[in-house]
Symmetry: C2
Amino acid sequence: MAEQAKIQSTKVTIIRNDAFVQTADNLKPTLFNNAITPTQLINVQSDSTAMHNWRTVHEADIAALDNRAFGKGESVIIDFGDHQVGYVSFDIKPVGSPPDAPLKLKLTFGEMPVEMAEPFSSYNGWISSSWLQEETLIVDVLPRHVELPRRYSFRYLKIEVIDTSPKYRVSFLNMTCNTVTSADIDNAIQLNHSDPLLQEIDRVSIKTLADCMQDVFEDGPKRDRRLWLGDLRLQALANYPTFQSNDLVKRCLYLFASVPDERGAIAANLFIEPHLIADDTYLFDYSLFFTVTLYDYYLATHDEATLKELWPTAMRQVELALERLDHRGIVKDEDTWWSFIDWHEQLNKQAPSQAVLIYTLRRAIHLSKAVGCKQSVDFEQRLIDIEKATVECLWDADQGFFVSGDQRQVSWATQIWMALAEVLPEDNNKALMLRLLSVKPEVGPTTPYMYHHLVEALLVVGCRDEAIEHLKTYWGGMLSDGADTFWELYDPQNKDFSPYGSHLINSYCHAWSCTPTYLIRHYDL
Amino acid sequence: MAEQAKIQSTKVTIIRNDAFVQTADNLKPTLFNNAITPTQLINVQSDSTAMHNWRTVHEADIAALDNRAFGKGESVIIDFGDHQVGYVSFDIKPVGSPPDAPLKLKLTFGEMPVEMAEPFSSYNGWISSSWLQEETLIVDVLPRHVELPRRYSFRYLKIEVIDTSPKYRVSFLNMTCNTVTSADIDNAIQLNHSDPLLQEIDRVSIKTLADCMQDVFEDGPKRDRRLWLGDLRLQALANYPTFQSNDLVKRCLYLFASVPDERGAIAANLFIEPHLIADDTYLFDYSLFFTVTLYDYYLATHDEATLKELWPTAMRQVELALERLDHRGIVKDEDTWWSFIDWHEQLNKQAPSQAVLIYTLRRAIHLSKAVGCKQSVDFEQRLIDIEKATVECLWDADQGFFVSGDQRQVSWATQIWMALAEVLPEDNNKALMLRLLSVKPEVGPTTPYMYHHLVEALLVVGCRDEAIEHLKTYWGGMLSDGADTFWELYDPQNKDFSPYGSHLINSYCHAWSCTPTYLIRHYDL
């Protein structure tokens, strides 16, 4: 996920667990490198039928680049053929008289054609423009071998010659991207699906996951390049049946457990560089996902030592969430309270958060028993009470939907999470999801993150055909719209949607969109 | 000097002398470093009485910088107290929440207040905007120690925070410029002049020279950072009575002599990095100044070995210049012909170039005799013939001036160089200079380079008072207008003058302006 924390900043004291930090450090992965060379030179053209109204057109074979020389005001767009995450290097050769003035270049990296077409100076969104991937390079001495020190997430590179001098031009040679990932791509478990669309969706899911697997599971290699709990949970699920980098999941769990606040709460995300820092953003649902992620990890690995060591942290997240319940047993809904659920300004977070708590509590009870913790008895009783309260207070029998907040909002997110939490009996749960698809309440899902939960909820209640249809339509839609990796945001009804005020700043390779491989393989679709 | 070569580009074959290259390499100087910290924070204010209409005002003591934190859109101007040439480093510390987006900074270096006040984006001159000293820096991880890899020539540094994120601001600490020069400043020969203005002009001359003394004698550390023969000649003259870095002069002479073309001609300037390259610009006067610079070097050092080794190169420049004479013995004036003389679009170069040849021939005869070369006899006869032809063809007895070109132009440059060349008898030569000061022909001097020759010509003909007056008025004028080092261009009548189309691109520490220390000391002013 991303910059939820626009205004949230919590003052807390971090209680550092150095032993956990050490365990996490010992699990630091080796990065795999691959030298990628570009495939063609392209242009971008306006096309009202294309995503963001821009499509790429072939301009020349890549071999043509060596023989071109660029002067002031000239530019070229280089296509690396697929989404890449890595470090770019190239050589600059002067052509003409000896260079009698520095060379000034502007480099623009883009995951999507729109980033090549629309100037970054037009960006006016509310999160930092510094995420837009560009560099201004002034070179005093030519020829020059350039190794850009920053890591980029891109398919396209535009080079603009801002200035040379009237006496020389420049050529660009040996253009290379040295990619980095901690995913062992060559040894990933293969899928051979009879449905070519599901096979392709699976392939792009794995590519998306791999490009987000670095030193930790990052949310997006373009933005925010950070370890978020909500993304980690889904990446871990996609990882188990593919790369099986289970130690990377373990590392991330230990990192989160290393820096709780004084109450034991786990932060929504961590900074890894220059050293481990818990962000001052805390989210109700994300903290609980620590427990859920540990549950999923334990199911995948049966790693009892890790479970035992991290169980107190996992239990604590549930305890803290339970403290937010009012006298009825319902999560208090206040202005000072933060839960993510989905990027939707109108979405009330109370009922879906209640459902996330129930969902987590169920798994906490399982873990509690696995470690032989007495807490399981109390948790089981609380679960009964809370489920009862949920139906009493949040179920609207007339509408046949759960409602959220003072305004009794009926949202997709609430029904989806209640279905995942299995609050209603099995038949009623299925009826709830079918009713949701039929009635289509106005406050709908906006992100692949929520679409994942929609598809999984359909699978949980037994609506397999509807699940496959939604998966194909949504992720297949991204493919039709030109995705090389799955995107942070995709609203088929509003393809320019960005919660940040500009599609230029959206991430087009984003962890929470990589789950189809999990859904296809885990549910044998 | 600078970008004379706007359109000149000569196709030649370079005959490399590896032994000379080795000699030059062995003379590579050690650079002296000095860590300079800034002195204050300033602002720039519009002021119609100030140079370029901008003056600096004190904003805060430098100590205040540590305690300031800058957010998006904020900026600060840091004053390093004097002109500096070197490498800048500083630390960036985040303030507030952990930085959740990269930091984007724009750094602007300026020798003059105008560079802090007027945006470089407004530059529309004809030489490359890449000379404007700026950097855009995007920093992914904070805190960060920044060591900028490029060398800057500046007094002021403006830092603009283009973007951070709403959650953090940044402070700048440990701001340092590690200066570089090959001048041994601590052991420079001191002057104690009774006239405080001449004393101050001498001090700033030496500072200017030191800032241009790097691996070679550069013309300007801001622009072009290159070894030009016209500048070298004057720097060498300023060096002998001050730093006495005579080996650096020797190194530069060997560098020029290393890469003649197939006819033996010496290029107007050299590129030193990435390896020695002769620029494809050849100037009639600059090639001859190789001979003159060797003459001055021999006079200062009595280094006979160097004279002997470089004499053939020096002699060849004179021979090539003599080949340009027409049947009368006058330098041919054509469109394809290049001589620098001064930055003045209307200036005809024929007569001043004729004078430079006579000036050089006189010195070549001296050197020829010193090495026992038989060529001296021929050169002596040629000098007699050429002086005779010069008076016959270029002297206008009615006007009492030498004329140049088809249009018989009367310029300051022509009279000054004819005076320096001592073409007329002593009394007539003095009368010529006094007439020049009185009549003031329209085509006047525009650069400190030509003002140097004006003052020296006055001294040569015995007009000592007038020389001192011009020296004080011109270089003292620069001091009054705020010079920390002497400028590439200064026209008291038109202070915005730039031959490049913008005062932003002018160099404000320029080798050819450092000569007052030579004039004051050599002529005991």
